[in-house]
């Protein structure tokens, strides 16, 4: 095989590339991979630690806003948490105790997420065909002109 020198060289190059890939694989697969499942096990703890707890739950809101909380729990929205419209508690009360005004989602799209007419929803669930239900343009805070989200009536 006097004239096959180039074939030997390319074969050696391929073997070198495959070896590098295998070695790289050894370095690239994290040590805790497969600890719980097919992902890097240590990531669970890391993600938990880098994210401050933002949501406090409806009970935490009731500590300061008792009236509104009582009104909500007596109404049809008793299972809708405050933070769905008002944003997470962590954005309202900072870690050092300072209180900032929370961003409130009053858009019709938020209401429509649950109450838009969809055939697949349970028939008893209150839902409307927006174009027929609203007299005028369906935009902005149109739902709140008639409905009180803390104690909604049909």
């Amino acid at each position: 095989m006097e004239h096959g020198k180039h074939v030997f060289r390319i074969v050696i190059l391929v073997v070198v590339i495959l070896t590098v890939v295998l070695l790289a694989r050894g370095f690239l697969v994290p040590k805790t991979y497969g600890l719980y499942g097919r992902y890097r096990g240590a990531n669970v703890g890391e993600q938990m630690n880098i994210r401050p707890v933002m949501h406090g739950g409806a009970a935490a809101c009731a500590d300061c806003h008792g009236d509104q909380a009582a009104k909500r729990t007596a109404g049809a929205h008793k299972n809708v948490s405050c933070e769905i419209c008002h944003g997470p508690l962590g954005a309202h009360v900072k870690a050092d105790g300072t209180v900032v005004k929370p961003p409130i989602d009053r858009s019709f799209t938020l209401c429509a997420r649950c109450h838009r007419k969809v055939a697949a929803r349970p028939a008893k669930f209150p839902q409307v065909d927006l174009d027929q239900h609203v007299n005028g343009p369906v935009e902005g805070k149109v739902c709140l002109q008639c409905h009180d989200p803390h104690s909604p009536k049909p």
Partner: protein, 409 residues
Amino acid sequence: MPEITGFSFPNDIHVTWSLMIVMYPYITGFVAGSFIVTSLYHLFDRQEFKPVARLAMATSFAFLLVASLPLQLHLGQPQRGPFVIITPNFTSAMAGFGILYSFYLLVLVLELWFVWRQEIIDRARRSRGMVRAFYAALALGTYDTSPEAIEIDHKAIKILAGIGLPAACMLHGYVGFIFGAIKANPWWSTPLMPVIFLLSAAVSGIALLILIYQLFARIDRRPVVATCVSALASWLWFFLILTITLEELELIVMAYEKSESWLIISELLTTRLSFSYVTMQMIVGGLIPFILLAVVVLMNRYLHERVRNTLATIAAFLTLIQVFSMRWNIVIGGQLLSKSLRGLRSPYEPEIFGREGVLMAIALFVAPFVILWIFDRVLGIEEPEGAGGHGSPPAGQASAGTPAVTHVP
């Protein structure tokens, strides 16, 4: 507001696999399709494909380099491109793509090297300084162009083409498998899916070669070899017939069975996909090129060369649209079904700008041509004058001049 229709589940609203997932099988299809053409010459000695054999191989390589980009753009995590190859997760269907992609890339690069080796050495001998060092490195330091070494190259090319063809078919058949294996979706879940993907890959590859062969010939002011264009047109017709037949048979079986899923699939095809399926995939991209190619093939001897080339070019362009529509209808169409199979999700409209937008899709389609241009500058796609037999079968089987016409199907 999203426009869902029928009994759609409330969380079945949006299409999440975007235009990029349409581009992924579209681009991968060119890889397999062009390789089939180059194999017809290198493996099956179809001399009529000699003028496009090197171009087809370079095209396959250029599109292969881009093939994983749509996925990375969709995921937004570029490192997952190499990671799917180096650290595959074998419970994921995509692990197979990583393995087949890297294996095919390896085989194709090796075959390219053997086909272009003499050219690399010639350029190394002609150049000086850094350029020479570059070509010398590409030649791996051996400048052996003796007839014995060239003979070894021919054997290696034949073996690699023999491995490369099933690898290319597996690579694209696998893309079909990724959809065909999703059993919850009746529009995808059929064992025909890999076959249809593979055949339409052949269609798109041949159609693309008809276009770029004539385009490059025009740019380089070279004559277009008539036998090559008519052979490509014949094979394009053959694969187009197979593809559309299977696409229709799949639908006819569903329609005749009238299984529970047919209710929603027929609604999907007549409402959301009426333009992209009926108009584009079946009529503009299917029926019209079928007729044009039938004219090219059946009336070949009566056609003036310009007429034949024009008809083949128009048909090739339309079949490219057919294949794109087919990818669109599979990828987007399948997602438009609600999991209830009683309703349809909101129609999908791709964004224009942005990572997964129309402009990015166009850029992805143009990128392989930029790679081809660079390839041409570095190695030269066209066989140099008088070189005779780069990558051609051993002497005695190949003729260096105008290829002899052999019969085509």
